[in-house]
């Protein structure tokens, strides 16, 4: 058994070391895979704030991932075709600048999370799982049948968007951007977990009526957690779209929501780096098992079952044991 903080440091170190090593030996594809893992991890860290801290089992987080993706797709599409996003009532131009795209992605997914959260938090338990799933399906079918931005075909962006001072087309540069964002979000997550808000949210998950009895509104705490979670997933979506230089409705599919949830549970719900471990392991399995057999989903399924049945607390829990009591 080792302490969780050492494990977290080790995970992040490896996640950084592998692409650096890959750059040295000129294996750019390994960097691409690592970037994919980092972005998935980011989305999962987002979900973990709602799921691990707030106890909100959302089977619809693909909505925010997708909205982030489409924010990037739509802005970059208009920038590359030199058409305005809208001209009435005022002019909005497309853009290829990553920071601007991120802001738009986070704002729009945050707004969506606010709306969906407000409605969904009227329900609890299985109903909450199902209503978030239903919102996901709504967005999925909408994007498929709405022709303006490509419908099911999706949108291609031929060149990756720009970040001041870096050449985003160089794999290690783009990886660095994603990795730094992941570290910042993890830091934010750690701070939130220990903050007064995190304390209250954590209590709202375990015993909402106690939180009410001390004069706080548990649903408002959960709603904010849901919005923060959605904003992070949206940012991950924008990065994912930039990694692929492509967005499509599959980003909204319920399998995507399921996969984000798999990252979290595989790694360990409520653990700071659980989602990171989950995403990295998933991407590795996808790569290596996928190379072994066309039917690799069978093995993936079996592995997930084993984790659920025998490794409560996910992989992180398996390595470091149960959560320490703080202080």
């Amino acid at each position: 058994m080792i302490r969780e903080s050492y494990l977290n440091a080790l995970v992040l170190f490896l996640l950084l070391a592998v692409p650096v090593w890959a750059t040295i030996i000129d294996e750019p594809f390994t960097i691409t895979l690592a970037t994919r893992a980092v972005i998935f991890a980011l989305a999962a860290v987002g979900l973990n704030i709602a799921l691990g801290l707030g106890g909100l089992v959302s089977l619809g987080h693909a909505v925010f991932f997708g909205i982030g993706g489409y924010a990037m797709g739509i802005l970059a599409h208009h920038a590359q075709t030199y058409t305005p996003v809208m001209s009435l009532p005022f002019l909005i131009e497309g853009t290829k600048s990553m920071p601007v795209i991120w802001l738009v992605a986070m704002a729009s997914s945050g707004l969506a999370a606010f709306a969906i959260g407000t409605l969904s938090l009227r329900t609890t338990g299985v109903y909450f799982i199902m209503i978030t799933l239903a919102f996901g399906q709504m967005f999925y079918f909408f994007t498929i049948s709405w022709p303006t931005y490509g419908g099911e075909d999706g949108l291609s962006v031929y060149v990756r968007n720009e970040f001041p001072g870096l050449n985003t087309l160089v794999p290690i540069h783009f990886f660095a951007i994603c990795f730094i964002i992941l570290c910042l979000v993890l830091l934010l997550n750690a701070l939130i977990a220990k903050s007064p808000f995190g304390l209250a949210l954590n209590a709202a998950r375990q015993m909402p009526k106690r939180v009410q009895a001390v004069g706080l509104n548990p649903n408002r705490l959960k709603l904010l957690a849901f919005v923060i979670s959605g904003v992070i997933a949206g940012l991950a979506g924008a990065l994912f779209a930039d990694l692929n230089r492509f967005v499509s409705p599959t980003m909204f599919s319920w399998q995507m929501s399921g996969e984000i949830m798999v990252f979290v549970i595989l790694g360990g719900v409520g653990r700071l780096c659980g989602p990171v471990v989950g995403a990295v392991v998933f991407v590795m399995l996808e790569h290596f098992l996928g190379g072994l057999s066309e039917y690799w989903h069978v093995y993936l399924g079996a592995l997930l079952l084993i984790v659920v049945l025998f490794a409560r607390g996910g992989l992180v829990g398996l390595i470091v044991g149960r959560v320490d009591a703080h202080d």
Partner: protein, 306 residues
């Protein structure tokens, strides 16, 4: 749009609804009694359809195929319950979601491993094919009428099973109070296996019946599964009556929405825009219905009040 067409569409909606009910009934029973959320219910639907296709291919008998579908789904269901599901009753919904998601992966790819990537052949028998003429001169496929009949028959049967029989009393007791059935001296794990197998058999039946007019292929279960979840959430989880009403609502909304929404929009916009946005709206209609129901009644139409 003629009255005949409207009646025909209502029948279509009903038929879709009762088939959804077969799926939803099992899901809602399993949730009501065992508190388990089972994403792998769609796999049992697929297993039913594949078993029916194989047996129909071997024997040529549709009746045997249907029986085989129910048996295969029930057996697989019982096995899954005993090997995996049983360990999940105490867990929270999160673990259940993940474990049954894993089961979907295993069943889907396993079936593809065994049967290949191409759809299987399963058709309705000659004596059930073709249309019949209903009063008012409506021509309607015989087989679809039979589906409506089978669905309503199963609904009635389940109603009687739950209200009148010994096992029904146990099921109701289990929904209300888990310790109570233990106190009644019922073997709980056996009861759970039976309920799971019953739900699975209904899913298998639906898979075979629907597979005969649709396509028998890997992945056929998941779209139906999601609709069935919408159904039980609208109806109220745990309620058979809710599942029936919810299924009919979803069936009618989906069928009629697809027809009438584009027609409605044509009143305001040009034909092709109306067609595109109408069908976009129609594909979201049932989810909008579900959202509205949950905002109005957060535990569904017939769900237990919190």
């Amino acid at each position: 749009m003629s009255i005949i067409l409207i009646i025909e569409q209502v029948l279509n909606g009903l038929q879709f609804g009762v088939m959804l009910f077969l799926m939803a009934a099992g899901l809602t029973l399993i949730f009501g009694v065992m508190g388990l959320i089972n994403l792998a219910h769609g796999s049992l639907y697929m297993i039913g359809a594949f078993a029916a296709a194989v047996i129909a291919g071997l024997t040529g008998s549709f009746i045997l195929a249907i029986i085989a579908a129910m048996a295969a789904a029930a057996i697989v269901g019982a096995l899954v319950e005993m090997v995996v599901i049983r360990k999940l009753y105490g867990s929270d919904h999160l673990d259940q979601v993940l474990a049954t998601f894993a089961l979907i992966l295993i069943f889907s790819e396993g079936t593809r491993w065994a049967f290949g990537s191409f759809p299987l052949f399963l058709d309705i028998p000659n004596y059930l094919s073709g249309p019949v003429t209903l009063p008012g001169g409506i021509k309607y496929p015989l087989y679809r009428l039979i589906l409506i009949g089978v669905g309503l028959f199963v609904a009635a049967g389940l109603g009687i099973l739950i209200s009148k029989t010994r096992i029904g009393i146990q099921i109701r007791a289990g929904e209300n109070d888990r310790e109570m059935i233990a106190a009644l001296g019922v073997d709980i794990s056996k009861l759970y296996t039976i309920i799971f197998a019953l739900g699975a058999a209904l899913a298998g039946l639906a898979g075979a019946l629907v597979g005969a007019i649709q396509s028998v292929q890997v992945g056929m279960g998941e779209p139906v599964l999601i609709l069935a979840f919408v159904v039980i959430v609208i109806g109220g989880i745990g309620s058979i009556k809710g599942a029936l009403i919810g299924a009919l609502l979803v069936g009618l909304t989906d069928t009629l929405g697809g027809i009438f929404l584009p027609e409605l929009l044509k009143l305001f916009m040009d034909t092709s825009t109306a067609q595109t946005s109408g069908s976009a709206l129609a594909s979201m209609a049932i989810y909008i219905l579900m959202g509205v129901v949950l905002i109005w009644r957060p535990t569904g139409l017939f769900g237990a009040r919190a």
